[in-house]
């Protein structure tokens, strides 16, 4: 007895409803020989499908057969195999399964959570903004020249100071004394200026001269005031 395995892959929602197979049996007419196309049950409880061809007494040949089976989930079907008993050989075997597929029975697979990915904002990156600053070559060159001049001047100043350090020691002391004297002299000068100020004065005489001796009253104003008084009295009358 010999057998060859062929796997059957389970696909959700698929029901098998038939098996088609074809092979060529090569044998001597006098030899007993049977060939079984079969599938084990997935739970190893036996065969869920088995079709046996008895070639005993025949000369062999090519057989092709379709065997309908009741609809059964492909998950119930285990691996298939071709079992041979007797003297003979199976050539060019083909085993095909007919099935129906119901997509409604597909179980939804849980999708993995998508991790939150931080969004990189290039415009908020200090390095990027710094690199985006205007890059005018003249500015760099001017800056370089200024820096170079400053550096040179600083170097010169340091050198001069270093060379005149000894002489300046006495000079600085003397200059401080002179400054103090000059400042004192200036203060005295300023005070004397205020003390010595002379305001020109005397009597300021009247210079306005009235041409008319009598200034008459404004009669229109008197009339208007009389009307106003009368109005006020009338208004107050109503509250009495």
């Amino acid at each position: 007895m010999s057998s060859s395995l062929f796997p059957l892959y389970p696909i959700q929602g698929t029901d098998i409803n038939g098996v088609f197979y074809r092979y060529t049996a090569v044998k001597d007419p006098n030899d007993p020989y049977t060939v079984s196309i079969q599938n084990e049950a997935a739970d190893r409880s036996g065969y869920i499908f088995r079709s046996t061809d008895d070639w005993s007494g025949g000369s062999g040949g090519t057989i092709q057969k379709y065997v309908p089976v009741p609809y059964s989930p492909v998950g119930d079907w285990g691996d298939g195999n071709i079992e041979q008993v007797g003297v003979g050989e199976v050539q060019d075997p083909v085993v095909l399964y007919s099935y129906r597929f119901d997509p409604d029975r597909l179980q939804q697979q849980e999708l993995p959570e998508i991790p939150a990915v931080p969004v990189y904002d290039a415009l908020a990156d200090g390095y990027v903004t710094a690199s985006l600053e205007p890059t005018d070559r003249e500015l760099y060159e001017n800056d370089d020249e200024v820096n170079q001049k400053d550096t040179e001047e600083e170097d010169d100043g340091r050198l001069e100071k270093a060379l005149a350090a000894q002489e300046n020691a006495l000079t600085l002391a003397g200059s401080l004394t002179q400054n103090a004297l000059v400042r004192a002299m200036n203060v005295a000068t300023n005070l004397n200026t205020y003390y010595a100020a002379n305001i020109p004065g005397g009597a300021y005489r009247e210079t306005v001269v009235l041409k008319d001796k009598n200034i008459p009253d404004n009669r229109r104003a008197l009339r208007s005031l009389g009307q106003q008084k009368l109005h006020t009295e009338m208004v107050e009358e109503q509250y009495r």
Partner: protein
């Protein structure tokens, strides 16, 4: 007057007898069907030969016989002896051929090939088992004198019959 009335009434009664035809129908389902499984193609291995042999670029026609009643029919296949269509009529073409079992639907049919009978261009198989059997036919046409076939399309017909025993 009364006697006349009686005679008339008797005449009317005798004319009332009539007959009815009752139909009987029946349908006989076919228990042997024939289908073309594979149409044949002529290969042209040389200028003067047309053949269905696969080795020569041809395709052998395959006929399927389905029998639902065992041991009731013969399958008879006749390979062609002339072209049904050809560019020019040519009486010098020689036809040969044969028919053999291509495959069976049941191991018990493995004896069909050995038990077949041949007469003329026909091959007959005894369908002793119910089920399907596929028969393939070889056809070879050779032009006389090894003359080249004129260019064009050549067509021939394999005749398959299911004959009741």
């Amino acid at each position: 007057m009364n006697s006349v009335k009686i005679v008339a009434a008797m005449c009317l009664l005798s004319g009332g007898a009539y007959a009815v035809d009752v139909p009987i129908e029946g349908t006989v389902q076919s228990r042997c069907t024939i289908d073309t499984d594979t149409p044949g193609v002529y290969g042209n291995p040389n200028a003067y030969t047309l053949t269905t042999a696969a080795a020569d670029g041809g395709v052998m026609p395959i006929t399927r016989f389905d029998v639902t009643l065992a041991d009731a029919y013969y399958a008879k296949v006749t390979h062609p002896d002339s072209f049904s269509a050809a560019p020019t009529a040519n009486a010098t073409v020689t036809f040969t051929g044969s028919t053999e079992v291509s495959s069976v639907g049941d191991a018990a049919m493995s004896g069909y090939e050995a038990a077949k009978t041949t007469f003329g261009n026909s091959t007959q198989f005894d369908l002793t088992e119910s089920g399907s059997v596929w028969l393939k036919t070889t056809s070879v046409a050779t032009n006389g004198g090894d003359k080249a076939f004129p260019s064009g399309t050549y067509r021939s017909i394999v005749v398959a019959e299911c004959i009741a025993k």
